[in-house]
Amino acid sequence: MFRTLVEILRHGLKNRSFIIGGSISLLFFLVAFLSYFWTPYPVEDINIADKLLLPSAEYLLGTDHFGRDILSMLIKGAGNSVIVAFVAIGIGIGCGVPLGLTAAAKKGWMDELIMRFNDFTFAFPSLISAIMITAILGPGSINSIIAIGIFNIPVFARVARGAALSIWKREFILAARSAGKGRFKISVEHILPNISSMLIVQTTIQFALGILAEAGLSYLGLGTQPPMPSWGKMLNEAQTFMNFAPQLAIYPGLAIALTVMGLNLFGDGLRDVLDPKLRRSR
């Protein structure tokens, strides 16, 4: 396991998008991790006297209309995004991958049922369905996690099924069947390890989408609720002061854009590194 990681790193360091994306993602996760222990200022503290300050030594990125430290809010917002995206991805993988594997293993009506249900979920644009779900369940970060998680399920189901179908045709699966293994055992022991690289890449992409979706929901006021800061909500609040304090919108916007770009680049780089065929052709 450790050797595999070292191997991945060794190849990754030759890949530009892996390095850039990886460092941005790493920075993002470190900041998010940090937010649970320390922020420069407590994010709940309202200090009207210091409102809408420009960057200074005291407040590195300035303050918002309540006099809260922007840097602290960004850090806390990163932590919030990670949690939402992480759990939502967990829901997506936890339900989607077994569904996809089952569809590929059973074929026939089971496959049809799962994939048609997938198509049904896919038919709604993800953010719209997330809005619908939070509208039904009520706003809040838990509900936005569920909403984002639900639209992750068909994505993972589809990727898992497609990848699994191509593995099922391979001869070593026939060999595994000739050793007396059932479909379930083969799915877990042979299919899953062979499609894991594809799932990992999909995870990084869905992670970026999850962060984007969380920001979108919070922007609409359906996601994270005050006083917990979130990048989307910061954007929304900044709207009012767009004319005389544009920096308020720039910081969270930049944070979202950078993180999503970093994760996507990392996903791209990881795909190149994990796919031996692409690696060789370079």
Binding site: E171, L174, A175, S178, A179, K181, G182, H190
Partner: protein
Amino acid sequence: MALLQVQDLCVTLNTAHGPQEVISHINFSMEAGDKMGIVGESGCGKSITALALMSLLPRDSQTRGKIILEGRDILKLNSNKICSIRGNRIGMIFQEPMTALNPVKQIGAQVSESIYLHLKLTRKQTLERVSELMDKVGLPVSKFGLNLYPHQLSGGQRQRVMIAMAIACNPEILIADEPTTALDVTVQEQILDLIRDLADSSGMALIIISHDLGVIAQTAENVMVMYTGQSVEMGSTMDVFQNMSHPYTYGLFSAIPHVGSSVQLDRKRLNSIPGQVPELHLRPRGCNFADRCSRALKICKDKEPMATRVADHHQVWCYHPLTCEDKK
């Protein structure tokens, strides 16, 4: 009672031209320790026969007839029972060692899987069994380790791992589907020796499938020659090879190049069988070989031939079999 009896096995597969019978009326039986060869050209149904024995054919195929393993008809078992036979009672070695091993799993794990599954041993016992197997197939753990991945092994070594997997649970029957076709000649010899020795020492029945008559001659005691999904000649290897009666068998033999023979010295063309294998949906009414056969009679084109006994344990499906004089 025979260990394995195959009675009137017919397999129908779905093709572009609708369902087609690719195996028709195969019969044979084996005792423990028997070694049987199945020989024929590509597409004659050798591998399909093997897969039928393992019930590994695609789901939209139909299998008729009986495959009786120790008194039980495999074709009538449910999928759970079949899974407990596969790998446990019947082991199988595949043609391509490059693709028949899972590329992302260590070889030790791959060998131990079916032991866990069928023998229900403890972790330690399994590990002992695995290293015993690796010794048997010539990859001693002291030298090769169990944590290697398939890509770290050569073709021959991988085939040895495949063999270890196939015999992990001491099956009664070992099916080797072209076990040496993908290997080079020097390794081929070693792998054949290994398979034969393993079969001898454990009393396994061996079914070896090959298009290579040399492989069959070396390993099998009995041989079945197949053409277009039918058996055309069957008997002890000695009988069939020395006293071949079916024109197709004869054709196969004359197509083998001999080092130093007149064919090579004179740079003459190799002998070949004229014509082509008829496509599945264009099979003639009578003998499938009739159109390519120089000895075909009128009846050959009208009626399918029945089995004729040439000698004890030597049958041929032909109306006009070769005799000794014909071959001179």
